[in-house]
């Protein structure tokens, strides 16, 4: 579904990603872990199409198409979804308000019929249950005055509404208490199908108790320096990242 080859990306002249290679197949869950500043969020942002990053080398093929050639909205319509690490507050725009436009744009692109107000509401109600989110929250200004947990639940709610093929969760667990984490993870798990894939970017192993990955990759200095099964995450939890850093540095010397 997704093939990343030798991806290099920089911002303001600083190279952050230095040759990422990754293959994600339908039905898989990949966890990307790594110490702060290793490039995890940059990878998520580059995949979603954030324009500040300059791609100097490499390619990203998503379902046979060159992802890097597409505008952020095209990627979304093609089925890429990014759950933001820091969801933006937008005064005056409610979730319900922009999401109906968004959902219908996406549906139109995928050759489906647009949802009228009534149908949209009924789909919304159904998806709201997934993340136990209140309708009142969705009619308020987007993320304004939301708690950390509410913001992240809203991200997963939007994911449910947009029905992506590839979901990228950028530190969706950061700052969540265990209850919120359970709700968010169970939402993600319910949305999993054999046709979809998930990339979970996280700093903490804890999330992976709830969203169980098929593969774990460790990112360090802009490269994937180690890949393994979910046991790798447990090892990281126990031993920290220092041994990874040492290994990576001795390998590069």
């Amino acid at each position: 579904m997704l093939t990343i080859k030798n991806l290099h990306a920089s911002i303001e002249g600083n190279e952050i990603l230095r040759g990422i290679n990754l293959e994600v197949k339908a039905g898989e869950v990949h966890a990307i872990m790594g110490p702060n500043g290793s490039g995890k969020s940059t990878l998520a942002s580059v995949l979603a199409g954030r324009e500040e990053y300059e791609i100097s080398e490499g390619e990203v093929i998503f379902q046979g198409k060159d992802l890097l050639e597409m505008a952020p909205e095209e990627r979304a319509r093609e089925g890429v979804f990014l759950a933001f690490q820091y969801p933006v507050e937008i005064p005056g725009v409610s979730t319900t308000n922009f999401l109906r436009t968004a959902v219908n744009q996406v549906r139109e692109y995928r050759g489906k019929e647009a949802l009228d107000a009534v149908k949209f509401l009924s789909v919304m109600k159904e998806k709201m249950k997934l993340v136990e989110i209140d309708q009142k929250l969705l009619s308020r200004s987007l993320n304004e005055g939301f708690s950390g947990g509410e913001k992240k639940r809203n991200e997963i709610f939007q994911m449910a509404m947009l029905e992506p093929t590839l979901s990228i969760l950028d530190e969706t667990d950061s700052g969540l208490d265990i209850d919120a984490l359970r709700i968010v993870s169970s939402g993600v798990n319910k949305l999993k199908t054999p046709q979809t894939a998930t990339i979970v970017v996280t700093h903490y192993q804890r999330l992976l108790d709830y969203i169980v990955p098929d593969y774990v990759h460790v990112l360090y200095n802009g490269k994937i320096v180690k890949s393994g099964s979910k046991e790798l995450a447990l090892e990281l939890e126990e031993k920290g990242y220092d041994w990874i850093k040492e290994e990576a540095e001795s390998a590069s010397v």
Binding site: A48, G49, R50, E51, A71, P72, E73, R75, A76, R77, F81, L82, F84, P87, V88, I90, P91, G92, V93, N97, F98, L99, T101, A102, V103, Q105, V106, Y109, Q158, L162
Partner: protein, 425 residues
């Protein structure tokens, strides 16, 4: 050079309007002020960002009065907004047009101001304060006075609809004097329609007295054509426990100067000023607002927002006076601007003078670009870039649009704003 221009215009104006025989005192006083001061030059602090006198000199070829033009019922009806239900007061180049106006006349009176005595005229908007008030006082031919009696609750809005059309850039001088007596409630709406693309100079004066415990909303739309030069002096005296709310949305024109002054004359009164300027092309809109807190326990709220594209220019100047007596004053002011092009400019200046020591005052102004992070967020959800921009700008503007109290008028103005932003949201 400036002095020459100044004198040239004022001399012409005084000469061309000298045949007016009514309101002798007012006109004599106005003429004296104009002769002495002239129209404002750029070096004058109050007009330093808005070269209105130069603009007049370059674009107005005949400073004589604009005469009434041919209107018809169909044209008037075309400019009523959908769902309009209220009283209609039509002005033809600033002159009240009874044949196209309709109102029940039960709860308030309308009088044509074409002769003395009208002692109140000029008592709220004082011509010493602004030369354009003096100018209007020498050039207006007739105005109207509206009187809303005590305890009258006027449920339906009173809509002032102005039709402007000048052939040689003449002067249009509307004049309104409105008195709202104790405990009365009323909503006024105002729109100005340019009938063609010829330049004109509209110089309007509105004076409003809001008596004790009266509540008044006044919403205005400014969407005149690209060559219209407009000056408005709008001044309100607000008495004990009364509320006055002004909403003003400016969308077009050549150069527009709005002076808005709220005089909070007693305790318990509240003055609100909301404004939106959504500009493109070379439109220049200058909002000078002034709120004067004179007594304790009064409140004022002000929110002006600007969206500026192309080579447009916005000016915001917000004065708040809190006099020594005005303890426990609450005064809030906010001005936010979004610049959509590198050639657009905004000059914003809060001006607070506080003489009392126990007050709550705040002010803030921001000028920036569209929030790129928010734009990316919406795009990442599948919204096209232009659509996402429109949605964000509409949300920004919406805070001001929401303040328009009349549903029909708000929908009408909202539609104009959405048309400008390129879509409905």
């Amino acid at each position: 050079m400036t002095t020459l221009t100044k004198n040239k215009i004022t001399d012409q104006i005084l000469e061309l309007h000298q045949s007016l025989n009514n309101f002798k005192d007012l006109r004599t006083n106005g003429a004296a002020i104009l002769e002495q001061k002239g129209l404002p030059a750029l070096k004058e602090e109050e007009y330093k960002f808005t070269a209105i006198t130069k603009k007049l000199d370059q674009n107005i070829s005949n400073f004589g009065p604009a005469h009434t033009v041919q209107l018809n019922a169909e044209l008037v009806n075309e400019h009523l907004f959908e769902g309009f239900d209220g009283d209609l007061i039509v002005f033809n180049n600033g002159i009240y047009s009874p044949e196209f106006s309709h109102f029940s006349g039960q709860d308030y009176t309308i009088a044509v101001l074409d002769q003395e005595p009208q002692e109140s005229l000029g008592t709220i908007a004082k011509m010493e304060k602004d030369p354009f008030v003096a100018l209007n006082s020498t050039t207006f031919r007739s105005g109207i006075a509206i009187h809303v009696g005590r305890n009258k609750q006027i449920e339906k809005p009173i809509f002032f609809l102005f039709f402007n059309q000048a052939h040689n850039g003449e002067v249009i001088s509307p004049r309104l004097f409105i008195q709202i007596e104790d405990n009365a409630e009323v909503t006024f709406l105002e729109n100005t329609v340019s009938l063609d693309e010829n330049p004109y100079f509209s110089n309007m004066v509105t004076e409003i007295k809001v008596a004790q415990n009266a509540h008044v909303h006044y919403s205005r739309l400014q969407a005149e054509h690209r060559r219209a030069i407009v000056v408005n002096n709008f001044e309100t005296d607000i008495h004990r426990d009364a509320t006055f709310t002004s909403s003003l949305v400016s969308l077009s024109g050549d150069m527009v100067r709005n002076n808005l002054s709220l005089n909070l004359l007693d305790s318990g009164c509240e003055g609100n000023m909301y404004g939106l300027y959504l500009l493109n092309g070379k439109t220049h809109v200058d909002n000078h607002t002034n709120v004067d807190h004179t007594k304790p326990h009064a409140e004022s709220n002000e929110l002006y927002k600007g969206i500026l594209a192309d080579k447009s220019r916005g000016v915001f100047n917000g004065k708040i006076f809190v006099r020594q007596d005005a303890q426990k004053t609450n005064a809030f002011q906010q001005n936010n601007n979004i610049l959509l092009s590198e050639d657009a400019t905004v000059n914003t200046k809060p001006q607070l003078e506080i003489w009392a020591d126990d007050v709550k005052c705040s002010h803030g102004c921001t000028t920036g670009q569209l929030d790129e992070e928010a734009l990316f967020y919406l795009q990442a959800r599948g919204l096209g870039k232009e659509q996402a921009k429109g949605l964000l700008l509409y949300a920004f503007a919406g805070e001001v649009l929401d303040k328009i109290s009349n549903d029909g008028f708000r929908a009408f103005v909202t539609q104009k704003v959405q048309e400008r932003l390129g879509g409905s949201y």
